[in-house]
Subunit: 504 residues, 2 copies
């Protein structure tokens, strides 16, 4: 470890209480983006962030995104900032968000959600503590600690902090597109701290996300709902047809029954398989998070692969049918089954396969009812090379702070912002989480552990140092990429950043 | 036709406007039993009915039923009355109800729902016009017309008018049980005018109803809803299991796939088949009521049989899954499928077959999730002999008033009150509808045609005359039943009144 990191770490420890005060101040601003009545609080949080960045000497702009769709309200501004402008240094684009999920005490919070409350175990409860105010402030903390020990940052940082992440990031993709060759033009790599460790004890770096295609399968028959006493047996019922078609999509073990899907999944190589060795995850971890033992697989590796690198199809529910408690003898006239498929490399043209299969299965029913099927929204999968210098730098930072090598993980869910940065800017994106798996982001009693916040601040700072020093060539692929940039996978489908090392 | 009927019919025509005024008065009382705030109006409607009966010279009682379950409110009284007490005459027990379904102008009514409004075609719009105030007042009209021509009724009438029919008839079964050997002890047969013609032009008599067993099929796995991104593929999903089991209950053509159900259905005899000949019903009637051509069968007879004499299984919906518009990537932790089976003679022990089949099919899935299945409520099927003198009397009355023989019909839905009278009192029950198929009971713009009200009044009066004269022996079964009473079918299962003639 470089000597300058030691004094940086020491300073972070010294400043810990003031960092926690900064987080306390941020949590106290209820910047709930989903609630139009709280929009002014979101804007206030943006202003707080801007003023903190300015106090550190950054060049800060609050960029308007225009009106929100459908309501008479301005979107909160994107807070962008530049810290350092040295052409000789690498430039890291840091993304985060300053809005939070809704939270009401009566939802079941044991402490006031907008009041940072620290318990005996150092758990700091409060909405936004881990998602994403703690990580966002971690960057500011790291800069502050550097300034106080008189140590210059070895990289330039560009900040992009948005205020609508929890409500769809409206307008952000267009903004990033517009700024790619403007404010963000010096970007070498992107770093996002907005996900979580896989476990409670071991840090991780995240190199892939599944995509998500969400479908509506509509079957309609009569022009209005019918009484099952009067018409049961005499009319073909849309619900019966829908249940039959939905039942042919996936089996109890999660195997997708749509031909052609499995065949597109990138084969598991030995190199990729090796990434799963030693990952800090047990079946008990799964059982604990499920609250049951209803796993699809008996071992942790196959379980993680099922979450990360294999597709899944979930049946979410039915719109238009009876869904309340009690009993209603209705024959619904029009029912919409909702299901989604989590997509993975190298799946492509998934919608066509789904539509054709659904139509074929419905045709087999020989029903007089009418079928419609469409994709409500599509989020693309993302994968990047964990051998890129952005990752090796972060890995060294983890070792420097926590004394372990990080787990190399993927996520089963999608993070649209990641795909946006990867696709629009064509840069390597590193997900460098600060919080733990148990932080309850989006739930009641969200928390960030004091240790994760303080050591996480060290981690972000250390990462900047290693990122400055890391050689451009990738260890396992130096003959292919001299410039440190990723190359598009042949075919370049879906405009994903898909380096050749992808199947590691 | 007997001469005294001619003068009765003439008097009914003369009094038509005053009868319509009586209905207008009744419709103006918003006796909505579902709405606690309108309870006083229900009680007021009961008082109005009692005073009208008293004005006709009946012995009237308003019997309390105690408190309503779950709320601090008295149930409306049952209005019972006796008109005539001649031991030499037969006694007809007449049931009806004086409460109505909710109705709000803004639901889409084109006229004020509690203001009887008559259009150019003689359609009398108003909540309760056809269900059931028109028929109830029809009995009073018939008595009044008799009195005005100085003609004595040839039967005694016992009235039982309740005020909670549209909200579950709470307390009525116990009341009927208690009065069977008391106030109702002279009852020979029961007549209920609370259903509808099969079509718009031809009267019918109704001799059967399907039962309804309503099931909940619960599948649970994790202890709370999961995110499909994080857990999709790694956990066994209760929705997948539920959809698979629901999909094995019934096929697109409405065939129930549970072994043993079909086998219990009473075989169709030639005699029963003959009852379907000439029934006023076409496929266009079905298509019009469906608003589509999505029928299960191409011909009207098979369609009517599917509604009346064959079982049906409808999938109503799912509780616990995502049911709103839009998209939610949830893996529901616990889902409850709701389905019901319409039961018919001679089905018995249906629940056991359903439970066993569901458990077997779930077991085949080899899932780690947990299954529970139970019957939410069970309404028994009912069938009586259309050869009973109660029916032949009504048939002659139809011919006297309308000049046609009535269709002999059944209903696909259940009318719990019918089963109550049939089972508790063990008397023949005749359903003698006044309104048409298009009357929109329970819907917006409920109406009763002026013709149905006035000719229906004649029908009820004429029925009383033929009921007085009809020989006790049944045409097709005189050797079995000398006393005019029905005998229980061997085995007496479910305590239904099941005469041997049942399979006619």
């Amino acid at each position: 470890m470089a000597p300058q990191l030691e004094s940086f770490f020491k300073k972070v420890d010294e400043l810990a209480e003031s960092f926690i005060d900064r987080l306390r101040h941020a949590v106290a601003i209820p910047s709930v983006s989903a609630d139009p009545e709280r929009r002014e609080e979101v804007v206030r949080m943006g202003r707080f962030l801007a003023s903190e960045l300015e106090a550190l000497g950054a060049e800060v702009h609050q960029r308007p995104l225009g009106r929100q769709r459908g309501i008479d309200l301005d979107l909160p501004p994107v807070v962008i900032a530049r810290y350092g402008h040295d052409k000789a240094k690498r430039t890291i684009l840091v993304y985060g968000h300053y809005d939070v999920q809704p939270a009401l005490r009566e939802d079941g919070w044991t402490t006031p959600p907008f009041e940072l409350t620290i318990d005996d175990e150092g758990r700091m409860f409060g909405r936004g503590s881990t998602d994403d105010k703690g990580p966002v402030l971690g960057w500011l903390n790291a800069i502050q600690a550097h300034q106080q020990i008189g140590l210059e940052l070895p990289v330039n940082i560009l900040f992009c902090f948005e205020g609508m992440e929890e409500y769809g990031s409206e307008g952000l993709e267009e903004f990033i597109k517009a700024e790619t060759d403007q404010f963000f033009k010096d970007t070498d790599v992107v770093c996002i701290s907005d996900n979580y460790w896989l476990s409670t004890g071991k840090p991780c770096l995240t190199y892939g996300l599944r995509g998500c295609n969400y479908y509506s399968l509509v079957i309609s028959g009569p022009s209005q709902d019918l009484h099952s006493g009067v018409f049961g047996g005499a009319a073909q019922e849309p619900m019966t047809d829908l249940i039959h078609v939905l039942g042919r999509l996936v089996d109890t073990d999660g195997q997708i029954l749509i031909p052609g899907i499995k065949e597109m999944v990138a084969p598991l190589t030995n190199e990729e398989k090796a990434l799963y060795d030693g990952i800090d995850y047990t079946m008990d971890d799964l059982y604990e998070s499920l609250g049951s033992r209803t796993s699809a697989f008996p071992d942790p590796t196959r379980t993680l692969m099922a979450r990360w690198r294999y597709p899944a199809l979930s049946l979410h529910g039915i719109e238009g049918a009876f869904s309340a408690t009690g009993a209603k003898t209705v024959i619904p006239a029009k029912v919409t089954g909702k299901f989604s498929m989590r997509t993975v490399p190298d799946m492509t043209n998934v919608n066509e396969l789904v539509f054709q299969y659904v139509r074929d299965e419905f045709a087999k029913l020989n029903s007089k009812n009418t079928l419609d099927v469409y994709c409500q929204h599509e989020g693309k999968w993302w994968i990047t090379s964990p051998g890129h210098w952005n990752f090796t730098a972060a890995s060294k930072a983890v070792t420097a702070v926590f004394g372990v090598k990080p787990d190399m993980t993927r996520e089963g869910g999608s993070l649209p912002i990641v795909t946006t940065f990867a696709n629009v800017m064509d840069k390597n994106v590193l997900l460098l989480p600060m919080g733990r798996s148990t932080d309850a982001a989006h739930s009641i009693n969200e928390k960030l552990d004091r240790r994760n916040f303080i050591e996480g601040t060290k981690l972000l700072g250390a990462y900047l140092h290693y990122a400055a020093e890391e050689p451009l060539v990738e260890a396992s692929e130096h003959h292919h990429r001299q410039d440190g940039k990723e190359v598009k996978k042949s075919g370049g489908r879906s405009a994903h950043n898909v380096p050749k090392i992808l199947h590691l």
